[in-house]
């Protein structure tokens, strides 16, 4: 795994519709927040990693150049990492590898998106090539609703049960978001409201879907020497895993979803985790769609295949449950895509350092963070712990 690496500080913007700031100003808000939190200055930073959705989302190419001043990156090594929805976890991995390799001691990772300035589903569609798949893929919801149906069919899960479990996830995460000062959507919803919301792409309804958010997140990764020197409470990187799928959507199984399963396995092996539901204290699972969150529980070994709706309805994954998932409200309530994966990592770091405030899971020591990207193409995991 290379040298030990820890997260020593995180900064987030207030996420939401942020037409009050230009995009570089939004990025700077997160960068200033992490410097204020850590007491570090741009001079201390050895390298900068940044990332967004595909540039079609931004309307401006080379965003790491556009945000160079906001990230104080001029004169430093800089890299851009871009993997659609999993961008944020990819940024974290890139920063991690940089420090783990011994080439840097302090790396600033910044993820950012202004979803309200562009067109997310039109951008998503450009992930599919224009002579075959693009005609049939209706943005992210289309892909995920097909995946949900295949999952339902495979394990013969009654549609009503899945519908109830998905509504339960929506209700609990919307409640959770009230305790996260940075969350975008703060709205009380009921089971009936979720189940009767407008259909986006069947079976996915409006309240099963994340919002379009503007936001940025900045995280500082440090070597063990730097952790000692700075005397800050670290969130140690215990394991990382990342996998991609074959290109064509119809070529591989999206129920026994290898990229999700293998990314988690790689991270568990590194972290020495055998029984994730017992050993993890909290998980920030990428959940732009309620249905997909349940599939991830199964792919990550939180429960057996086909079992997640029952476990959800029993409350296993609520804040008081056996393995609290997305106590921040998750992607379902806040989705500035290029930042979203890094927010998962940042939330996991806050949890294991006891800094998560009102949504702190008591005594959390080991946390999983995750993001998914592309047309079901990529899955990335980072596991953080309070002890090396």
């Amino acid at each position: 795994m290379g040298r030990p690496v820890a997260i020593i500080g995180v900064g987030q913007t207030k996420h939401g519709r942020r037409m009050d700031v230009s995009y570089p100003e939004l990025v700077r808000e997160a960068v200033v927040a992490v410097f204020n939190e850590t007491g570090l200055t741009p001079n201390d930073i050895d390298g900068v990693v940044s990332g967004t959705m595909p540039s079609m989302m931004e309307g401006i190419a080379l965003t790491h150049f556009y945000f160079a001043d906001a990230m104080q990156a001029a004169g430093k090594p800089i890299m851009k990492t871009e993997t659609c929805g999993s961008t944020g976890v990819s940024i974290a991995h890139t920063a991690y590898y940089w420090v783990a390799s011994g080439m840097a001691d302090l790396v600033l990772a910044v993820g950012h998106e202004k979803m309200n300035e562009g067109n997310s589903q039109a951008t998503m569609t450009t992930v599919a090539e224009p002579f075959y798949q693009r005609y049939f893929i209706s943005g992210a919801p289309g892909v995920f609703s097909m995946q949900s149906q295949m999952w339902m069919d495979r394990y013969n899960i009654p549609e009503e049960k899945i519908r109830d479990a998905a509504a339960f996830i929506s209700v609990t995460h919307h409640d959770d978001a009230f305790d996260n000062p940075y969350a975008h959507i703060k709205m009380k919803v009921t089971m009936d409201e979720v189940k009767n919301a407008r259909i986006i792409t069947y079976p996915v309804r409006l309240l099963d879907v994340c919002p379009n958010s503007d936001g940025a997140c900045a995280v500082i990764f440090a070597s063990k020497d730097m952790v000692k020197k700075l005397g800050r409470k670290p969130a140690w990187v215990k394991g990382v895993g990342y996998r991609g799928e074959e290109y064509f959507f119809g070529d591989s199984d999206k129920v026994v979803w290898e990229s999700a399963i293998q990314a988690a396995k790689q991270a568990y092996d590194q972290a020495g985790i055998k029984n994730p539901r017992k050993e993890l204290d909290v998980a920030e699972v990428y959940n732009p769609f309620t249905f997909q969150e349940m599939l991830f529980y199964e792919c990550f070994g939180f429960c057996e295949p086909g079992e997640s709706p029952d476990m959800v309805l029993k409350g296993t994954f609520t804040r008081k449950g056996e393995l609290p998932c997305d106590p921040s409200g998750g992607t379902l309530c806040t989705n500035p895509i290029g930042a979203t994966g890094l927010i998962r990592v940042a939330e996991a770091a806050l949890q294991v350092t006891g800094k998560a405030g009102d949504h702190q899971i008591p005594k959390a020591k080991l946390a999983l963070s995750h993001a998914m990207g592309g047309v079901d193409q990529f899955n990335g995991i980072m596991i953080l712990g309070s002890k090396l």
Binding site: I137, Y202, E246, Y247, F249
Partner: protein, 154 residues
């Protein structure tokens, strides 16, 4: 600072591209023009891949054994779409569908159709995963993926 509306600028980027199909996609699309769906067989794993591929994505060997595949298959999953975004190439409402054509080993992505798509409740009564479906051809074929109009329930 709050409650104030700041200025924005509206902008758009349009760029022209000409993407090369290469020999395999060209032959596949020529096939569609002649109401034929071609796949290629991987000589190593034996899978029949459709659309036709120049190489097997798993075995990384050339997949140059051409086979005409069935125009009948099984509906694996479907997605009723009735919203629109900029640049959407298919006019909603439409039903993006994964179809396993008989004798093939991957799911073919296309549309379901041949019935009224405007009322979702009616659509839901007709369309079921696992149902048998068949390709319906366009009269005006150009060597394009939409030469197949859609697949209809059998």
């Amino acid at each position: 600072m709050e409650a104030k509306e700041y200025k924005t600028i509206k902008t758009e980027i349009r760029l022209p591209y000409e993407l090369a199909y290469g020999a395999t996609w060209t032959r596949f699309f020529e096939g569609l023009k002649n109401k034929t769906i071609y796949g290629t067989k991987c000589t190593k794993c034996g899978r029949i891949l459709v659309p036709a591929r120049s190489f097997c994505p798993r075995c990384f060997v050339d997949a140059d054994q051409w086979v005409e595949v069935s125009q009948v298959g099984t509906l694996i999953a479907w997605c009723y779409t009735n919203y629109k975004y900029f640049g959407m190439p298919t006019e909603p409402p439409f039903i993006g569908s994964l179809i396993r054509l008989n004798g093939t080993d991957v799911n073919f992505l296309h549309l379901m159709g041949g019935f009224d798509l405007n009322n979702f409740d009616e659509v839901k009564k007709i369309i079921k995963s696992g149902m048998k479906v068949e390709a319906v051809w366009s009269d005006d074929r150009k060597g394009h993926i939409m030469d197949i109009k859609y697949f209809r329930p059998l």
